[in-house]
């Protein structure tokens, strides 16, 4: 417990019992009433040794203000820290570089008290000035950060984003250990935002020294530091001996080997040359792996903050009729689709994934009932169905899933022709108002940036996303729901979080009543590890660190 005093501080701040439960599986953390699981050091953990992780694609950048793919996301988390963080293997917030924080009663002023003695990899001590610099930098348009918009609730954001100010007026350095952030509106998700990679603290001198190449010469406060980067071949992370959290990381070194096909990585794992295939189990090999008891024993399964869905463009007839959308919802045989992808997912009936707070276990959704769907379609004026188009990304298994959907639709008379395109083209089609009547989201489906129900609404179901180039491919815009969502997000008081989660459940129930989507399934995550890898299973399917939480795993 001593080493993790900060976690206790969080529990106290939240006014919850500091009672400690063992790290729970990510799936179990769905309901809002669960007590936060404070991380307990693993008594079996050993220090030292190094592991090998493979990836197919180059690592793009390790600049925390820019990196935004699932490959560099977890790497950046190990190189940098932000004010907030999550309990390893869970979706529970905990303070990181902030030792503790206070929230004003109206929920607009956050005062963070920083941990003292935290050093950057270059040896300099981190202060509140660095936090301010980092927030100014990520919101500055010149940085071109894809995550700038997350900080929209900080006072003065609009001026910085618009280029009329260089610094956020809402971020104030009180003293070297204290930072006060004023928001322009109450934002219940703000602590999650401060745990995003985009909020990582970077040292100004290193950023200025490397300029645009900072992403290849990262300097942070994280558990590891970058020791070598050979383009196209490998990256080597070395343990940060001065890391401010006691006891971690366990590993001395992590080597990321780049350019390895997932199938080749699997072969090398079987030979003991690789510890974690970063791209996971190749779909073509999945059944073979799961059928072999020896290999299956090395697989860790967990939930992820993901939903695969079909969008119906509510501005394009006949999908402007609610009855038609409901009929489609009843026509899709989700169990069969899940079987088709070898049970790598669980059927879904609502937009939120089960691991997300606000997920409603009692929600029934639309049951599979082609007869009723056909009747509804007839009632809506389409007794003989109609013709439409289904857009889909052209990589396996998505075209196969689209065919299954096509078949289900034909059962009720809808003749959908499949438009199988490259990812970028499908995204473009979805963002154009009159182009794609239906889209199967597979391969582009929404994965939450942070474990909060609001993250599934705004860009993909709210009015803000229903704009040219947006991600709301249903073009569904319900202003009443937008208001309710805004209201839920203004509840900052930690004691009222259950109430907030319920409001969000209600928002999604109302969305489903209008049926702009067919939620199809929630993909499960399957991580493979070599037999020598140690640490709790939930570290290998960490909902925030994908694929694994590098800081807490060890070699047996």
């Amino acid at each position: 417990m001593k080493a993790f005093l900060t976690s206790t501080a969080l529990a106290l701040t939240l006014g919850l019992a500091a009672g400690v439960s063992a790290p729970a599986l990510a799936q179990d953390k769905g309901s809002a009433e669960t007590t936060p699981a404070t991380y307990q050091p693993d008594p079996n953990a050993k220090e030292g040794d190094s592991i090998v992780i493979t990836y197919k694609d180059d690592v793009s950048t390790l600049d925390p203000a820019i990196g935004y793919d699932w490959q560099n996301w977890s790497m950046i988390k190990s190189l940098f820290d932000a004010l907030m963080d999550y309990e390893p293997g869970t979706t529970e917030l905990r303070p990181a570089l902030a030792e503790r924080y206070e929230i004003s009663d109206d929920g607009t002023v956050f005062t963070f008290h920083l941990k003292s003695g935290v050093k950057f990899h270059n040896g300099r001590e981190m202060t509140a000035e660095d936090v301010k610099y980092s927030l100014d930098r990520v919101t500055n348009p010149k940085t071109q950060s894809p995550g700038a918009g997350f900080f929209g609730s900080i006072a003065g954001y609009d001026d910085v984003a618009g280029g009329t100010a260089e610094t956020l007026s809402g971020v104030e350095v009180v003293d070297p250990q204290t930072l006060k952030i004023t928001l322009s509106r109450p934002d219940a998700t703000f602590l999650h935002v401060m745990a995003l990679n985009f909020a990582s603290v970077v040292p100004q001198e290193a950023v200025e020294e490397w300029g645009a190449d900072f992403g290849h010469h990262p300097v942070g406060t994280g558990a590891f530091k970058l020791a070598d980067w050979t383009i196209g071949q490998q990256l080597v992370f070395e343990k940060n001996e001065d890391y401010w959290r006691d006891g971690v990381p366990y590993l001395d070194q992590i080597t990321f080997e780049i350019g390895q096909e997932p199938i080749v990585a699997l072969l090398r794992l079987q030979k003991g040359e690789v510890d974690i295939p970063g791209d996971g189990i190749p779909p073509a090999k999945f059944q073979e792996v799961m059928a072999d008891p020896e290999q299956k024993a090395r697989v860790v399964e967990g939930g992820q903050l993901q939903t695969g869905y079909i969008t119906m463009n509510v501005t394009m007839p006949p999908f402007d009729q609610k009855a038609v959308r409901e009929a489609v919802n009843m026509a899709i045989n989700k169990d069969r689709i899940v079987q088709m992808i070898n049970n790598r997912a669980i059927p879904a009936n609502q937009p939120l994934p089960p691991t997300m707070p606000g997920y409603d276990k009692s929600f029934e959704g639309y049951a599979y009932d082609p007869e009723k769907a056909k009747a509804m379609l007839a009632e809506a004026g389409f007794p003989d169905g109609f013709e439409t188009e289904l857009y889909v990304m052209n990589t396996d298994p998505n075209p196969r899933i689209a065919q299954a959907i096509q078949q289900d639709l034909s059962e009720i008379g809808i003749k959908a022709s499949i438009q199988s395109l490259a990812q970028a083209n499908v995204i473009s089609a979805g963002g154009a108002k009159d182009q794609a009547p239906m889209i199967w989201s597979g391969g582009m489906a929404w994965i939450a940036d942070f474990p909060d129900p609001s993250n599934f609404y705004g860009p993909i179901l709210g009015c803000a996303g229903a704009v040219p180039g947006g991600w709301n491919w249903s073009w569904y815009c319900n202003e009443d729901l937008d208001k309710q969502a805004a209201e839920a997000d203004s509840i900052v008081d930690p004691a009222r979080q259950d109430e907030r989660a319920k409001m969000w459940s209600d928002v999604y129930a109302k969305v489903m009543a209008d049926a702009p989507w067919v939620p199809v399934f929630n993909e499960q995550r399957f991580t493979m590890k070599s037999p020598r890898m140690g640490g709790a299973d939930n570290l290998y399917v960490d909902p925030v660190h994908i694929p694994i939480n590098y800081d807490y795993v060890y070699v047996k």
């Binding site: 197919k56 348009p141 383009i231 196209g232 350019g259 072969l267 970028a424």
Partner: protein
């Protein structure tokens, strides 16, 4: 000769200019928007427009192309959108690996192809000849992705003779070179066979035989050098085939060359990298053909450069 070289050089520059214009235009009319790839899912429209403006992607096509071209003549290939690095650095870091792989492939295809062709020609009409020609046909038709995985599985996983993918030692080079070279080996064995069959019919071979020379001497001294030259002149043209082959082979074997770079860039609509790799490959192909044309008259004096 000099006039010929000068004319060919001018032609080459025009070809490269054409390649750059066509590639740039194709990438421009692509419905995929690179800015959205960079900005990601959560970016606000404001962020997207900001990035678009800073990259100059809001400019009309000709302005964008002109900017690219003026950068290019100053040696500036631009910066990768997603890797946020100079494209030239990425290509320079990866080119040696690709060149090494191609060199290995040339050795493989020559050794395999010439030997097979030679044996087939000497055993013309026999079962050996038939078997060799069928296998050369298989080599030409087999998809490189399958060949690569098959070789990996048999020789690296099962037999452990070679490492499973990767880069570094001469042992890492064998399987990818073989995979890339098998296609060429198929062609070369057929060319070598017909070339050898031709030569063996010539009068000077009959004369040599009449003189009472040993069969081996006739083949090695008189037939082989004459049969091999026209085949070797084709190597320059192989560059084009290799350039398409490395995209697949490098991906299978985790070979850190420009083929892999190109494949990744295409998937992510990273236009500066796609442009850079395309131009470097086009350069190599133009150069390869040029060299092949220059070398031919030395090998076969009947051909004149004009």
């Amino acid at each position: 000769m000099l006039a010929y070289v000068a004319r060919r050089l001018v032609q080459s520059v025009l070809i490269l200019l054409g390649v750059s214009l066509i590639t740039f235009a194709l990438l421009y009319i692509l419905p995929a928007d690179p800015v959205r790839q960079i900005a990601g899912r959560s970016a606000t429209p404001q962020t997207v427009e900001n990035i678009r403006r800073q990259l100059g992607l809001d400019q009309p096509f000709l302005v964008q192309y002109w900017h690219y071209l003026t950068g290019l003549v100053q040696g500036d290939f631009g910066r990768s959108y997603l890797q946020r690095t100079e494209v030239i650095d990425l290509i320079v870091a990866r080119l040696p690996a690709s060149l090494l792989l191609m060199a290995g492939a040339i050795v493989c295809e020559l050794v395999l192809g010439l030997t097979m062709g030679l044996v087939a020609a000497l055993k013309r009409g026999t079962a050996t000849d038939q078997a060799l020609m069928v296998s050369s046909f298989v080599g030409v038709s087999a998809p490189q992705f399958v060949v690569g995985l098959l070789l990996l599985y048999v020789f690296a996983v099962r037999l452990s003779w070679f490492p499973i993918g990767g880069y570094g030692t001469i042992w890492h080079l064998v399987l990818p070179s073989l995979t890339l070279g098998i296609l060429g080996a198929g062609w070369y064995s057929r060319m070598m066979r017909s070339s050898m069959v031709d030569v063996l019919r010539q009068d000077y071979i009959r004369t040599a035989r009449a003189k009472g020379l040993k069969r081996l001497t006739i083949i090695l001294r008189h037939a082989l050098p004459n049969a091999i030259l026209p085949v070797i002149a084709m190597i320059g043209i192989d560059i084009g085939i290799f350039m398409s082959g490395i995209v697949v082979v490098e991906s299978v074997f985790g070979w850190p060359g420009i083929g892999q770079l190109a494949w990744q860039a295409i998937q992510r609509v990273d236009i500066p990298i796609i442009m850079g790799v395309t131009l470097v490959s086009a350069c190599a192909i133009v150069l390869g053909n040029f060299v092949a044309d220059l070398v031919t008259p030395f090998i076969d004096p009947r051909i004149k450069l004009q």
